[in-house]
Amino acid sequence: MTGSLNVVGYGLSAIGPGIGVGIVFAAFINGVARQPEARGQLQGIAFIGFALSEALAILGLVLAFAI
């Protein structure tokens, strides 16, 4: 069995952003369910939050390959 330990580390580091993205979209769905007319505004905020937490996972991916 061969492989890179870096990738295992990346897998572990992706747990946190995964949870974060889940929380962001859960809150977005809740918000839209409560106030459907605010969808447009919430969508922008949700995608910015998603991008922010996803960025951490992407940094992990970069470090997994770069180091």
Partner: protein
């Protein structure tokens, strides 16, 4: 014959990053280069066909072109950018079409390689997006006004600002294009690797492995490859959508008057 029969089958060599090392067709031209040109030609031809004879009551082709353009225009650009959205609709639509077609190359038979599984073009597109939203923001607020809008969130105590302002600068100015390009690249890379893994795995089980059990189980590997092809189709569309969505939201936050 006997040597072949007695020799143990080689172990399964799982595909890795070397699956993405494509040999050049001639000179520096590799498969992704051809695909990039092909995607641009396909998009241009389809759009030209859609507007060949523009009518009030659209033909089928015109309707599909309008649906595509209208989707980017009304659900992405208008919601994300605000009143000045019309200026950015051509850029966003072209971006969406370009990313979408290149992504979908990953599941189109005989092509089967998502161009953006190589990071070059995502980097280039992210740089273009970075230039666009920073230019727009600076033009709208002035240089220092734009810096203040993007790194100086209002109603924050000073001791939070010490940490927050560098983070905002880092995330809004420096990290945005990096994450934007790497998100696209990472998804395409992983998706393609997944498909290659299942196909090569099934191939190994059916043709190379000695064990009869593995030969019998190989259809499951191919079945998984088919299931993941559908999943990849979904992911590719979603990634193209998110790429354009985030671009629009960066432009929108750059020209928004309040943070």
């Amino acid at each position: 014959m006997t040597t072949l029969a007695t020799a143990p089958a080689p172990g399964f060599d799982a595909p890795g990053v070397d699956a993405f090392d494509l040999p050049p067709i001639f000179g520096p031209v590799t498969k992704p280069v051809v695909l990039l040109v092909l995607s641009a030609v396909i998009i241009y031809v389809l759009f030209r066909l859609a507007v060949r004879r523009p009518q009030l009551v659209p033909s089928k082709g015109q309707f599909m072109g309008e649906a595509f353009h209208g989707m980017v225009r009304n659900t992405i650009a208008r919601d994300m950018i605000g009143p000045e959205f019309l200026r950015f609709v051509p850029f966003l639509t072209a971006l969406f079409a370009f990313v979408l077609v290149n992504n979908l190359f990953g599941i189109i038979p005989l092509i089967q390689f998502p161009t953006f599984a190589h990071p070059g073009v995502p980097y280039a597109l992210a740089v273009i997006v970075w230039l666009v939203y920073n230019t727009v923001g600076i033009r709208h607020h002035g240089f220092f006004g734009y810096l203040r809008v993007s790194t100086w969130p209002p109603d924050v105590p000073w001791w939070v600002r010490i940490i927050l302002t560098p983070i905002e600068f880092l995330s809004n100015i420096l990290l945005r294009p990096v994450t934007l390009s790497l998100r696209l690249f990472g998804n395409m890379f992983a998706g393609h690797l997944l498909l290659v893994l299942f196909v090569l795995g099934g191939d190994y089980m059916l043709f190379v492995a000695d064990s009869i059990t593995l030969k019998l189980l190989s259809p499951f590997a191919f079945g998984m490859a088919i299931v993941f092809t559908f999943f990849e189709a979904f992911v590719q569309v979603v990634q193209a959508y998110i790429f354009v969505m985030l671009t629009a939201s960066y432009i929108g936050s750059a020209i928004a008057d309040d943070h």
